[in-house]
């Protein structure tokens, strides 16, 4: 790979990270919690897709017709059983319970699927590429992934801006108590947000699984990449996560271009540099706030 192709592939890789990051950012934006099990839930999506493709003989794309509704239900149930109670117990408890989930999920996956690396078959599109020059070929699958990410982000944005559900979500994110005063059921809003977040995670997990192999512990790195994309993206608007994902993807592949082993490390480094820069510029932890809400000036 040349430098140019590392950058181009990095940009496209950013789509997967943006997809992963959007759900994490959505939950943080609405409930102020960071779901440490987010990457693990993405991974569960990939494993479910694997099971379905194995047993029904359909492609991973078609398996989404089962995986995504399943993820919505899982997300809804997760909110109603574990997260809702955690939220009431103070700011630290959601971290502790979602970390517990991360450990439980990684080990259950290891039990049911063995520690071996699995992968999903991306189909014939995996063999096709747009050849730009001798040294640069852009795989159609990467373009597809990036396109899916953009469609999901635009879709989320439109839903948040223009639908009743979106308005309720924004109102609850601003101020849950006041939202309840005007008749919004905050608990239901939270459950819907988590359901959507888990579905986007599962979608990201399936695409991630088609891109590269995954093992039961991949949930941890998927979480870290998603979070890094959110932080690098800065303001935390949905487009911010896309920018963050792209920067992270480019950093990783440029790092890998120097030495294959630097893939994750260079991403971590860029994340830490952004973190330090934000601190130095006075954007403190308190200001770390993901805004899905573009406040309309009346």
């Amino acid at each position: 790979m040349t430098w140019v192709s590392a950058i181009v592939h990095g940009i496209l890789l950013g789509g997967v990270y943006a997809l992963l990051a959007s759900g994490l950012a959505l939950m943080f934006g609405v409930m102020r919690i960071i779901n440490l099990a987010h990457g693990s839930l993405a991974l569960v999506g990939a494993y479910m897709s694997f099971l379905i493709t194995e047993h029904l003989g359909i492609s991973p794309y078609l398996s989404l017709a089962i995986v995504l509704p399943g993820a919505l239900i899982v997300g809804y149930a997760l909110q109603r059983t574990v997260l809702e109670r955690s939220l009431r117990a103070g700011p630290l408890v959601p971290l502790l319970t979602t970390f517990g989930l991360l450990i439980v999920i990684a080990n259950l996956l290891q039990y049911f699927f063995s520690p071996d690396v699995h992968s999903l078959d991306e189909g014939s599109i995996g063999l096709k590429a747009i050849s730009v020059s001798n040294e640069l070929a852009i795989p159609w699958f990467d373009v597809l992934t990036f396109g899916v990410a953009v469609v999901v982000l635009v879709g989320l944005q439109l839903v948040l801006r223009y639908t009743q559900v979106g308005r309720e979500l924004r109102a609850t994110a601003e101020d849950a108590d006041t939202a309840e005063l005007v008749g919004i059921n905050a608990r239901a809003v939270y459950a819907r947000a988590t359901a959507v977040a888990v579905a986007t995670a599962a979608l990201a997990g399936v695409f991630y699984g088609m891109r590269s192999g995954f093992d039961p512990n991949a949930g941890a790195s998927e979480l870290l990449y998603a979070f890094e994309a959110v932080v690098i993206g800065g303001m935390g608007s949905l487009w911010g996560t896309l920018v963050g994902g792209v920067v992270l993807g480019v950093a990783q592949l440029v790092g890998a271009q120097i030495n294959n082993e630097y893939f994750a490390l260079s991403g971590h480094l860029v994340f830490l540099v952004v973190l330090v820069a934000r601190t130095a510029l006075g954007v403190r932890g308190v200001g770390f706030r993901i805004r899905f809400v573009r406040r309309s000036v009346a």
């Binding site: 943080f28 919690i33 960071i34 440490l36 574990v82 109670r85 955690s86 117990a89 700011p91 630290l92 408890v93 959601p94 971290l95 502790l96 319970t97 970390f99 517990g100 989930l101 991360l102 450990i103 439980v104 990684a106 080990n107 259950l108 290891q110 039990y111 512990n217 941890a220 979480l223 870290l224 979070f227 890094e228 932080v231 082993e261 994750a264 490390l265 971590h268 480094l269 994340f271 830490l272 973190l275 330090v276 601190t279 403190r284 932890g285 308190v286 770390f288």
Partner: protein, 347 residues
């Protein structure tokens, strides 16, 4: 003010009670007795107790962060790894005495914690958690890329050589036993003294309400920084002892010396024992030790159980075993707080 003001009830500030005096004295006696372990106990029991000692060390350190600083770190394994690898490095590369190397590695853990603190302490809850994890992962990757034969890259390294050069296996067991017990004792005394000092008052204020504490002039970041550095050194010390205990270490993977499973164990111990209490983590470490001894040790179901129980405690018994006992029976065995007792009048 009413003219018929009721006489203000008189209070006295109570720190020690006879229960806590007796218990603290008893605990000191117990530590002295345990120091005789290599003389009195079988090899097997000494090995088991070493394990208990480093678990207590880890639990106490994690609780210092989460229970007093409100800092949920998911990256303390970074310091465990630094302690273990530091000890290998100095004893193998520079041929220093392995126990001296362990001490140096402990101090390095504390020193490394300072720049890390400067990066992460500004962050709140979830952001802090993931940032510490990213830093721990980065340490692990850097170590795994180090071609130095003492470090061994991704295939890990072993401290068999430096230990065998100087000690028989029996001596190694005895000295490691004392090192592990000494570490626990020193850290507990240090933390006890810290929490009873002026800084301790501000730490407990931070634990109870960070914003309120800051508004009355508590230097929140300084307090958190002190805790973070102590926890960095303490976890490095535990890592060095783990090295002396298991000899071989790996850098990558959840079960490695830099592995996330250490955090799973720490969270389990602190949640089960009682977060934010001084005694809780000790009880939690004993609980984990019992689980490992009588239930599955290592492997898939061990960690499923660990995570599941931790979630259960977080949701159903958030104060843990000791916090619940404390609340119900109003006892403090190791007094780090102040209590007001009304003198005379209705109690």
């Amino acid at each position: 003010m009413s003219e018929h003001a009721v006489a203000a009830p008189a209070f006295r500030v109570e720190r020690w009670t006879w229960v806590s005096v007796a218990f603290t004295g008893g605990l000191t006696g117990l530590v002295a007795l345990l120091a005789l372990g290599p003389v009195l106990l079988s090899e097997n029991s000494q090995n088991n107790l070493i394990q208990l000692y480093f678990l207590v060390t880890l639990a106490v350190m994690w609780n210092a962060l989460a229970g007093y600083g409100g800092l949920v770190s998911v990256g303390q394994q970074g310091f465990i790894g630094i302690g273990a690898y530091g000890a290998v490095f100095f004893s193998l590369q520079h041929s220093l005495n392995p126990y001296l190397s362990m001490l140096i590695a402990t101090l390095i853990g504390g020193v490394v914690a300072i720049p890390v603190a400067l990066v992460v302490l500004w962050l709140r809850s979830g952001a802090f958690a993931i940032a510490t994890w990213v830093i721990a992962e980065s340490f692990a990757i850097l170590v795994s890329l180090d071609p130095n034969p003492a470090i061994g890259g991704g295939t890990g390294t072993s401290a068999i050589l430096p230990f065998n050069l100087r000690y028989t296996p029996e001596q190694r067991l005895h000295y490691t036993y004392w090192a592990a017990l000494g570490t626990v004792a020193v850290l507990l005394v240090l933390l006890f003294a810290l929490l009873r000092s002026r800084v301790g008052g501000s730490l407990q204020a931070i634990r109870d309400d960070e914003d309120a504490a800051a508004s009355v002039g508590v230097r929140v970041l300084l307090g958190k920084g002190i805790l973070f550095v102590i926890a960095g050194a303490g976890c490095a010390a535990a890592g060095a002892i783990i090295l002396a205990w298991q000899l071989s270490i790996l850098p990558l993977g959840p079960d490695s010396i830099f592995g996330i499973n250490w955090t799973a164990k720490m969270i389990f111990m602190v949640l089960v024992g009682g977060i934010g209490t001084f005694e809780g983590p000790i009880i939690g470490a004993i609980a984990l030790y019992v689980l490992q001894t009588y239930g599955p040790n290592g492997g898939v179901w061990y960690f499923v159980l660990l995570g599941g129980i931790a979630i259960g405690f977080a949701l159903l018994l958030p104060r843990g075993i000791w916090g619940t006992i404390q609340e119900r029976f109003d006892v403090r065995l190791l007094p780090v707080g102040y209590r007001l007792r009304q003198i005379g009048g209705a109690r």
